[in-house]
């Protein structure tokens, strides 16, 4: 998987938008990830230097929070909701079917870098469970048989 070389100016401006406040490390990392679809190593180094925080602590935070990925991610981010309401309505079976079709487990990216599969613990749209969110688009009342057409609609 190819790593991205982040633009130093871009990182600098993200830091500036938070006044280089070390308390804002998590939102800063989120903005970096929104830019590069993952957290490149050089970005973590620059963020640490800009905030006066040791790299080991930046890395700690980056590896602690589930929102962050330290590896490059696929073009399409699939989030299967495993919240209680969705679970009770069979979300586990939907996840199984997606894993089966894509040949990856949750947390992994397909070899062709097309999809990254993640699970999320409740997106707060419980009436429509089971829910699968792809690139911010919500698909509700999912079943195993709806997986194939859903995946096929993404290039």
């Amino acid at each position: 998987m190819k790593a991205t070389k982040p633009d130093k100016q871009k990182i600098k401006s993200i830091l500036a938008s938070y006044q280089s406040d070390p308390g804002m490390l998590v939102p800063i990392l989120q903005d970096v990830q929104a830019e590069y679809n993952y957290l490149p190593r050089e970005a973590l180094v620059q963020v640490g230097e800009g905030l006066g925080v040791p790299l080991s602590q930046v890395y700690s935070v980056a590896s602690f929070f589930k929102a962050f990925s330290l590896k490059p991610r696929g073009r399409h981010l699939i989030n299967v909701c495993l919240g209680t309401a969705c679970h009770v309505r069979g979300a586990g079976r939907v996840l199984d079917e997606i894993e089966r079709r894509l040949g990856v487990k949750s947390g992994e990216t397909t070899k062709n870098m097309k999809y990254t599969l993640e699970t999320v613990n409740c997106v707060g749209a419980c009436a429509l469970g089971p829910i699968v969110v792809i690139d911010g688009n919500y698909s509700g009342q999912m079943t195993g048989s709806k997986v194939k057409p859903l995946l096929e609609s993404y290039k």
Partner: protein, 624 residues
């Protein structure tokens, strides 16, 4: 760069605020029909964006801006029937609206008519209800907090002002002392809505008295309980109600800096909160010299990073300090030493939203609602195996039966109620013997569960209680911060034992070991994630022990859920040979033998996904 000259909107006094409010109300025609469409995450997921676009298109096409308004609002709660449209001022409710319905709704509304086919039909009586308040789902609710959602566009502060918003703040800043405000909140009996149920007034009082150079107020919008989305809807739909509460609270405890911590999975809530802060600042309702009172208070928004543990106050504060979300011992409370070691008052979204109600109408009126030990209303997310899924707001003390059957419309497909899970992963499963339990903090505790933040997951006869316990322990295992030994290692072992039981590897002694491990987690965990983690296991053992024993002794899952203990087969007598199951099977384990010949299921190939069982309407697929 030329600076744009802007006329300042700043309100320099409470009188100016009231004058502005009068002007806003006067500028609005109360009789002009307004089509309000729910723009909350739930309805958006059901296609509300297309519905909104449809309305915009049709209004523009017909040049009808003068005849009818369109407002995109917050969540009215009846998620099961979304996308929801409410026609004001009559409050006519249309459900499951599609983009293609826009033209008809507009034309009929302009004429003063109703679109019959889009009205809600009561499944029990077969009758249609026209008005929102007649819908059985809403009848037993008391929507003090959520009621204004369908009248407010959260990105338009003037909507909030028109309904009386910030009047409480005005009252607080003009003639009430901080101590007086704290007294009022104490008298109201308000208890924290995030799960702890701690008396809010007492918390504010301790914070005010605590020593420290600076003090902070925080709004906890990290709503991590899976299945709970009350805070999301409040923050998305009426962020000003939360903000107003925070400003009043900040004034009461003497804080000038606040944070709203929103979980990462709620992008719309973050967006609407940011807009609300900007607009409040423009009007001088937030920031420096609020309403000319001399009181300064500003609020920043911080996002979570996807960690349930950050709903715990000390972990949340660690995250706000740029550290990992590890809790610390609370022998010294966060009101004394919290964020950056300063006195910090943290409250949940719903708690903050209750404050303006108390200050505006007085504690006495507020305290009339609810039960003896739990005053006011509570928002619950009613989800799972229930007909009317959605958000409900009810007075404390209403019974579970009234919620599940009176408001929730009972269990779908005529199935039998089995249990309700309250309080999220820290709570417990309550069986049908408790259906007449009044819902409030103390009663739920007595039954072995807890109120928690308000998630209510309904389960029916097809829910396996051992699987539910396993689900919660797995969830918590993934969310444990890993700092303390009992939680990190204990949850791992509980997960191994429970998974073993659901996979047919349960053995004698497993239940005893689960109970002993649970006792250690309860006694020794560093924070409430660990110490409440055993609750789902302990309550399911208490009320559904027979299910555990069936799994362990008989290697059987009575509810038919645990894959390893369930087999699928075709009932040769019932199967008409329609081939639907064969089509549904993702691994071609079923062979369609043609009409009138029963299909053949290859047990070796079967992955037990249940697709065939779901698709067969004749009960010809057996699952045991």
């Amino acid at each position: 760069m030329a600076k744009k000259q802007q006329t300042s909107k700043r309100l320099n006094s409470v009188a100016a605020l009231e004058a502005l409010r009068k002007a806003i109300v006067a500028s609005r025609d109360p009789d002009k029909p307004c089509i309000t469409v729910c723009g909350g995450t739930g309805c958006l997921a059901l296609g509300a964006r297309d519905v909104i676009a449809g309305f915009k298109r049709e209004i523009e096409k017909g040049g009808l801006e003068g005849k009818v308004s369109l407002k995109i609002t917050g969540c009215p709660g009846f998620c099961e029937k979304g996308p929801l449209v409410v026609i004001k001022p009559e409050d006519i409710l249309y459900q499951q609206v599609k983009a293609g319905d826009a033209a008809e709704i507009i034309s009929e509304t302009v004429k003063g008519n109703i679109v019959d086919r889009l009205l809600y039909v009561d499944p029990n009586t077969g009758k249609k209800t026209t008005y929102e308040s007649d819908v059985p789902f809403y009848k037993k609710q008391k929507r003090l907090l959520l009621g204004s959602n369908s009248s407010i566009d959260p990105t338009v502060i003037e909507d909030y002002l028109a309904l009386g918003g910030y009047a409480a703040l005005g009252r607080a800043l003009s003639g009430m002392t901080p101590e007086g405000i704290i007294d009022e909140v104490k008298k109201s009996g308000l208890r924290g809505r995030g799960g702890g149920g701690f008396p809010t007034g007492a918390k504010w009082e301790t914070c005010r008295k605590a020593e420290g150079e600076k003090r902070y107020v925080i709004c906890n919008c990290d709503e991590g309980d899976p299945g709970a989305f009350m805070d999301r809807s409040l923050m998305e739909g009426n962020p000003h109600s939360v903000l107003e509460g925070m400003i009043i609270g900040a004034y009461a405890v003497g804080s000038h800096e606040g944070y709203i911590y929103v979980r990462n999975e709620y992008p719309l809530a973050v967006k609407n909160a940011e807009i609300a802060i900007e607009q409040a600042e423009e009007y001088g309702l937030l920031g420096r010299n609020i309403l000319g009172s001399g009181f300064d208070f500003s609020v920043k928004i911080s996002r979570g990073g996807g960690a349930f543990v950050c709903g715990e106050s000390t972990a949340l504060m660690a995250s706000l300090e740029g550290k990992v979300g590890e809790p610390r011992a609370k022998y010294v409370h966060t009101v004394e030493k919290g964020l950056w070691e300063q006195p910090t008052n943290l409250n949940n979204v719903e708690t903050w939203a209750n404050v303006p109600l108390i200050i505006k109408d007085g504690a006495g009126r507020y305290a009339k609602i609810g039960s003896e030990g739990s005053k006011g209303t509570k928002i619950f997310s009613l989800v799972g195996k229930i007909n009317n899924t959605g958000l409900i707001e009810v007075p404390m003390g209403i019974t579970l039966r009234e919620i599940i059957y009176g408001i929730g419309g009972g269990i779908p497909e005529g199935k039998k109620f089995k249990a309700v899970q309250t309080g999220g992963p820290s709570g417990g499963c309550i069986p049908d013997s408790f259906l007449d339990l009044p819902v409030d903090f103390d009663q739920l505790d007595k039954a072995g569960s807890m109120m928690g933040s308000g998630g209510m997951i309904i389960m029916d006869e097809n829910s396996c209680m051992v699987d539910i316990a396993r689900y919660f322990i797995n969830f918590l295992e993934g969310e444990s911060c890993g700092k303390c030994l009992p939680c990190r290692e204990g949850l791992k072992r509980m997960s191994q034992i429970l998974t073993g039981i659901t996979e047919g590897r349960g053995k004698d002694g497993d239940i005893d070991l689960l109970e002993r491990l649970s006792a250690t987690l309860v006694d020794c965990s560093l924070c409430a994630l660990g110490s409440t983690a055993p609750n789902p296991v302990l309550t399911t053992l208490r009320y559904f022990r027979d299910e555990y024993e069936a799994h362990i002794k008989d290697k059987r899952c009575p509810a038919g859920v645990c894959k390893a203990l369930v087999t699928y087969s075709i009932d040769e007598e019932k199967c008409p040979g329609c081939g639907l199951c064969a089509k549904a099977c993702p691994v071609e384990a079923i062979t369609d033998m043609g009409k009138k010949k029963p299909a053949i299921l290859d047990k070796e190939k079967c992955i037990k996904c249940g697709a065939c069982y779901d698709v067969c309407n004749l009960g010809a697929v057996i699952r045991k």
